[in-house]
Symmetry: C2
Amino acid sequence: MNASDESLITSPKPKSRPGAPQESLRRGPSASLEGRLMRGLLRRLGEPPIEFILWNGEHIAPAGVEPACRVRILDRATLLSVITDPQVRFPDAYSEGRIEIEGDLVRLLEEVYLAGSRSASSPVGRVLERLRRPHANTLSGSRENIHHHYDIGNAFYSLWLGATMAYTCAYYPTPETTLDEAQVAKMHHVCRKLRLRPGESVVEAGCGWGTLALHMARHYGVKVRAFNISREQVAYARERAEREGLASQVEYVLDDYRNISGRYDAFVSVGMLEHVGVANYRGLGEVISRSLGDNGRGLIHSIGRNFPAPLQPWIEKRIFPGACPPSLGEMMGIFEPWDLSILDVENLRLHYAQTLRHWLALFEGEVERVRHMFDEKFVRMWRMYLAGSVAGFTTGTLQLFQVVFASRRNNDVPRTREYLYQT
Amino acid sequence: MNASDESLITSPKPKSRPGAPQESLRRGPSASLEGRLMRGLLRRLGEPPIEFILWNGEHIAPAGVEPACRVRILDRATLLSVITDPQVRFPDAYSEGRIEIEGDLVRLLEEVYLAGSRSASSPVGRVLERLRRPHANTLSGSRENIHHHYDIGNAFYSLWLGATMAYTCAYYPTPETTLDEAQVAKMHHVCRKLRLRPGESVVEAGCGWGTLALHMARHYGVKVRAFNISREQVAYARERAEREGLASQVEYVLDDYRNISGRYDAFVSVGMLEHVGVANYRGLGEVISRSLGDNGRGLIHSIGRNFPAPLQPWIEKRIFPGACPPSLGEMMGIFEPWDLSILDVENLRLHYAQTLRHWLALFEGEVERVRHMFDEKFVRMWRMYLAGSVAGFTTGTLQLFQVVFASRRNNDVPRTREYLYQT
């Protein structure tokens, strides 16, 4: 695509000429100030095949491409706001109903991610990027950050996470695998990678609603100490362990991973690293290193990126304060200071896209209940978050890394990874 | 072990008291100056269970441990030299016959590696570390560095590399796999990871004696352009391609990887990265990035480390000038600037230990011929290099990473890695 001015023509959309929209776009007269601003934004976005329709009837779209979807901006103030800081203000305006989307929201966001390049932000955007300070992950900061997201109600999450209440990337061995099957498959995949043996001890950092800890205890006969700073999640997990008769094997600890003590055969953390913050990676490695003996091994499962970059700022602001998915290079800051060996890395990016599609479908199926629990703005905010996450993983903007590691001296490692695939 | 002075006692070895060597060591009288210097070195090494025997009959060993092997230092000058810079002077003295080893050389070096810690070097050692400048990998520097090692004679390498002439870590699916089988298995493993399809094009950076390129062409029906700056290797490879009737499918290019041009479906490099130098990783990534389209994928197979550190300085000086095995974090410097996605990392450290054991055994079987081709010093130097490499991999001082990567936009990736293990 050509990024020059000529490639974007704005004009009032002709209502009576279906089949030739590009033609008429190309012949459009000079645009209004708002239209030209919108055109500038589209250019900064890398000209994704999206048609913007303004409140005054103007249509703005890249020339020569059939738009994949349409965005209606309902008033001038919204346009000006979005132009200033599209990454935050666009999803905010959508949440508040000042923007409407015609077509598939996931597709729209995929087109934006695919069109964008690493250097696409405007000078204003770059200034904003510098000014943005993600919420700090001190001990108390982490408590607040985690409370913001995970303590909004177990009833809400149970509407759309499926039976396992696992809120992390699932593992789909086949296209037909269901969400619940895929979550169970993910837990087995993790346990096999850890080569858990009956009687061993495991420490889990960030245990969510406790599903993996119970799974490890039930299916692999291990003892688990599972740490989490979300009160709601720990309460739920403890109740579940009691109900399932596993309370003697699984201890849920309402505390920060930094306070893990003791020695264990294995360390596991699924979906916590995103909340740790790169500045704390060396400290996390120290926790791992002191928790594992010479034959210890561990697994960290985390959203990641191809290169170091902050989390999408709207997600950090509205959904996951303090969160930052690391690049694999940044993740090495956990292991390298402590002479831990990386044994295996697997990228499950497209599995997370599928997981999120399943969550989004369940969410939409329960949308009336969600609206009743919260409000319309909440519904639209979470729809944007889930759809944006699908798009992040399908376009490679986000990755999902499972990293297996061990003490340098641990020679008790499997010869090949074939055993992972034998049932 | 206790690192205080009392834990090391030196004394003339009592010849007539088998069964109580530790006891007599502990009761030894005050040592000579040389003995005390030797004792200091042993302490700096972390007190590995090694007994040193000096020319004057003094024995120095950690107290309370049965030595795993014995080292005879044959004269005072050698001791003083080794104490100054043990990492370089010890293997030099061994090569020159001024040190003799009783017991298994691999075991000796394993004990040294296991006892050593990251901060074990002496003040002198740390100064030396700073002063050491590995041989630069400019275009001409790389040519010289590669010439030093790989052009010493195809006849020599063919004595102990096995039938495949593959001079990189093999892959042993079972303990019974032979060297030649394991080299073929490695090549299949690499090709499967790359998911090569007939008719595709592959560029190989650093092709050794050309074995992998021929394997890819023969078994996967791809066209290969294979780059190498070793004249001897390229001459050998071209002759082989002719002989095997694959010259129309495989082109060997006597040129630097930096001069790779054109577009390919896959990029592969097995055992070259060690010679690239971290300073050139971004440039290597640029080569990869421009070589691969949106559906491209690649594999880099390289010796690595758990944390950034220079290559063992004697190996860099005498064996592999300019070489530096990277940490995985350093390797990410290839991919992250170019938005390449890491799909899979596998650590084959113990496979390389096994490969090297096989090479060492073949080498020892042909040692008379090697001595005839070169001299005794060469034989001892190469024995030290091969044994030290075994020890490096068995102790986790060295790692072997296979890293699979792809364009961010490549969604044509296998759902699971199970297919790698289906034959």
